[in-house]
């Protein structure tokens, strides 16, 4: 493998300068002359039939330019990532609190708010259903159609019943996980305006081309007349994939012919955006007395709320990963996605795997206890490895199993662990391991790239991949720079603009480095071939090993006097344009409907977290002291950015483990602000030791895989195991709160006495 000169280096990211100066214009910072302000009238009940929406009074208010309802939607009145089951504006039925009923565009925000209060709604409230298990019953109120079961994903392999019959050890438990909120610091916002006959929308989003397709369908317009541009986005984490402001803004600007701006309040953001699926998991594990896994039987009910958002996908991914990073010859996994009148659940970093990891990793620790071997050994004994078959029957193409990540993480923690100095505070160590498939599960999800290389050696890279803070613009430029020997700082990246860039797919599924990275590599390769041809024509070379590095041409390892720019200029001089394009779609086999067998991903990453906690047995408070987070990323394109993803994701996982919970009551979010929904502050965090492991993927750009989500999958599991190790009782629901610990300790005491 030739030495890399740009990839693998922690180059400074391109947008850092403007961000530290406060110059970056996020959606809410954009101003245009004559712009109007939009507001949305939202339902305050969870389930109701709408009889009438009277906007006459509102329309007459001075300063109001438009009041729109469902009747004003020219095309399909529906949107959604997979199924178009969410109305743009409610026609007849409200399904959750926060459903959009009407839109107002006015001269000022105050007037817009006033107008909202003048809109009259006549409705008939319906009984709602707020518990997913109840929702599955025949007689439950129906949210859509005649069944609340949106999807059932089954994965069946081998003979689970026979395995359980002869198992030495059977472990059966129920696990419950909570609704988590993305809590990006920038609330949704956008601005839209007309430019000739094109609607231009700039908004905070993770997937511009999806937005464009939805708007086109709703406005009955061709996609080419809708230009969706991603404004600099203040975090997404999966919460800015669904439509938020985009269609509203398009409708309003199209109707008024004026620029229109819409900025969500924090409360509006929490109430309307999708959440992580809360899950009820029933997990049965069968093993022999040496700790070798024989079978798992898993039943999951996931509450997807009022609309489908990502549909069956998150819970499909959950099912695919339900057995953990372990070889289990017999599996039976039934995972239900169920509609209720609760807030919508959709994509959130980890996409179903954090939930199931909380379950399967505790099962592994219980297995270790029952067999008398250590948690480390039980995992090493069962790890998936080269040639293993997964639950879906896919043969793994990896060199190593979880030992590559688990052992370094374990050593990092054990070597510095100390006794607690206070008698009522107990310390414990726990681990959480995972494997994670990169890309959309068993579905096509391509990305494209355009590359225009100028004769002075600078280049323009156009990719659909949305940079939401993770730094995709930077690493994609690094990949192009490496392949063509260009200067990284001379590559200008334009991203996520449907008027300029090809579709990059969503910035989700940890897929951009791998998929857009490969697309960029292909585009760069097209240009590289042109330059190699020029070299051949010019110098008559054929067999020499050519590498482009640091702007120079290297032949057989030695630097020549030829610059890359020379070759570009010569080609262009002959009238050959040095432009490249490429696209990439991972090869997968969709999962069989009945058995879930298939090849859902082209590449997988392993990861392990080991956590050390201290539990105050008097108050139940858990302090996470340290987490060692080891991640196999294939090839770290930008090591500092990789560390940043690991650190940030781990802290989000700590929040998931011990602090965060969206509490709802009859579909009403009781915790819609940062005061009530607690995300970790700088004083709430453990020391995170990121460990980068590089097991190069044959199919990734320079061996890179993906990273965005794995750091969030493991922490809650590792913390739960560490707590059990510290105090001898296990918590089976998230988040692991002081109240739960105090209660569990009290119950243990009662059992001892009784």
């Amino acid at each position: 493998m030739p030495e890399l000169s740009v990839v693998g280096k922690s180059v400074i990211r391109k947008d850092a300068l403007d961000k530290v100066l406060g110059k970056t214009r996020y959606s809410a910072d954009i101003k245009m002359e004559g712009m109007l302000y939009a507001k949305v009238l939202r339902s305050t009940v969870a389930h109701a039939l709408v009889k009438k929406i009277d906007t006459e009074k509102a329309k007459k208010l001075p300063g109001v330019f438009a009041v729109l309802t469902a009747n004003d939607v020219p095309g399909l009145n529906g949107h959604g990532i997979i199924f178009k089951d969410e109305p743009v504006l409610v026609i007849d039925k409200i399904r959750k609190i926060g459903d959009g009923l009407a839109l107002v565009a006015a001269q000022t925000e105050e007037i817009a708010c006033q107008a909202l209060s003048l809109i009259e709604i006549e409705m008939e409230e319906l009984p709602g259903v707020f518990n997913p298990v109840e929702a599955m019953q025949e007689d439950a109120p129906k949210v859509h159609g005649d069944s609340n079961i949106l999807a059932l994903r089954k994965i069946i392999r081998g003979d689970v019943e026979a395995a359980f019959a002869k198992a030495d050890i059977i472990i059966e438990n129920d696990y419950v996980t909570q609704m988590q909120e993305h809590a990006y610091i920038e609330p949704e916002a956008g601005i839209a305006y007309m430019e000739d006959d094109v609607i231009v929308i700039k908004a905070s989003t993770q997937n511009t081309h999806f937005d464009c397709r939805e708007i086109a369908r709703n406005l009955a317009m061709p996609q080419s007349r809708i230009r969706m541009i991603q404004a600099p986005t203040g975090g997404g984490f999966g919460g800015k994939l669904d439509i938020s402001v985009q269609i509203y803004l398009s409708l309003l600007t199209w109707k008024t012919r004026r620029p229109v701006k819409l900025v969500y309040s924090r409360e509006e953001s929490v109430i309307t955006s999708s959440k992580r699926h809360p899950c009820i998991i029933h997990y049965r594990t069968a093993a022999d007395s040496t700790g070798k896994l024989l079978a798992v039987d898993v039943n999951v009910v996931a509450d997807t709320g009022a609309y489908s958002s990502y549909g069956p996908a998150p819970i499909t991914r959950l099912a695919v990963h339900a057995a953990g990073p372990y070889e289990v010859p017999n599996v039976k996994i039934y995972a239900y996605t169920v509609y209720t009148n609760n807030p919508t659940a959709g994509a959130m970093r980890g996409f179903g795997v954090p939930q199931i990891a909380f379950a399967y990793e505790q099962q592994m620790d219980i297995l270790a206890e029952k067999t008398g071997i250590s948690p480390l050994e039980v995992r090493l004994r069962n790890t998936l490895k080269k040639g293993s078959k997964t639950s879906c029957g896919q043969k793994l193409v990896v060199e190593n199993g979880i030992e590559n990540t688990l052992l370094p993480a374990f050593e990092k923690i054990r070597i510095q662990s100390e006794h607690s100095k206070v008698s009522h505070k107990k310390r414990g160590i726990g681990m959480g391991s995972l494997y994670f498939g990169i890309g959309n599960t068993g579905q096509p999800n391509p990305a494209g790239a355009f590359l225009d290389v100028m004769e002075d050696g600078s280049a323009h890279l156009m990719v659909g991949a949305a940079d939401i803070g993770q730094g995709s613009n930077t690493i994609l430029a690094q990949i192009a720079a490496e392949e063509l020997g260009l200067d990284f700082t001379d590559i200008k990246v334009t991203s996520a603009d449907t008027g300029v860039t090809p579709d990059g797919g969503a910035s989700s599924a940890s897929r951009q480095t791998y998929i857009s990275g490969n697309a960029v590599l292909k585009a760069a390769h097209v240009v590289k071939t042109m330059l190699l041809n020029e070299l051949t024509e010019w110098k008559g070379l054929t067999q020499a090993e050519i590498v482009f590095k640091n702007k120079m041409v290297y032949m057989n390892g030695k630097e020549t006097k030829i610059t890359v720019a020379d070759l570009i200029a010569r080609r262009r001089g002959k009238g050959i344009m040095t432009i490249g394009h490429g696209w990439y779609n991972p090869t997968t086999i969709p999962l069989d409907e009945e058995t879930g067998q298939g090849e859902p991903y082209e590449v997988y990453s392993f990861a392990s977290h080991v956590a050390e906690v201290e539990v105050d047995t008097e108050t139940g408070e858990v302090t996470v002291l340290r987490i060692a987070a080891a991640h196999d990323v294939g090839q770290a394109v930008n090591p500092v950015q990789v560390q940043g993803q690991i650190e940030g994701g781990t802290i989000m996982g700590v929040g998931y483990g011990i602090y965060e919970e969206i509490k709802t009551l009859k579909g009403n979010i009781r915790t819609p602000s940062f005061a009530t929904y607690l995300i970790p502050t700088s004083l709430d965090i453990p020391k995170v030791d990121p460990i980068i492991v590089e097991e190069r993927a044959n199919t990734g750009p320079f061996g890179a895989k993906g990273l965005g989500e794995p750091p969030l999958v493991a922490p809650a599991a590792a913390i739960a195991n560490a707590v059990a190790n510290a105090i001898g009782v296990r918590i089976y629901s998230l988040p692991v709160t002081p109240e739960k610990i105090v209660q569990a300790l009290a119950e243990k005491e009662t059992q001892k006495i009784g």
């Binding site: 100066l21 406060g22 920038e186 924090r266 802290i651």
Partner: protein, 154 residues
Amino acid sequence: MKSVQIHFILNGKEVSAAVEPNQRAVDFLRDDLDLTGTKIGCGEGDCGACTILLNGKTTNSCLLLAAQFDGTSVITIEGLGSYGKLDALQQAFIDEGAVQCGFCTPGMLLSAKSLLDENPSPNRLEIMEAISGNLCRCTGYEKIANAIEKAAKK
């Protein structure tokens, strides 16, 4: 609504302006003065994205009325540095990889500035305390603290 006259020092320059009595300081900065570096993350004083320095002290400008600027000295992110003349903190944030989505960055920088002005050699805990009112969802705070440490050593 009658307008209120205010007179104050903003990023080192004298400013006179008319504001509404109920106008928030953050809106005055962003809408009237087009200083959009100060962000609105929650509007309730919980996230710190709207942090400014009021007479040297960190303040949530979403909880402040514009009228309260009168007679004070205010620093926003725009006053911390400019192209070609970055504050040591800003350079450190860039170098240490402390910027991801960047939305919390202006508030973080001002909280850090307030800390270093008062305590030029803070330890790690003091740094974490100083930024505990600024929420970040992307970075996990680690590299932000590293950057502040690095800037302190300059």
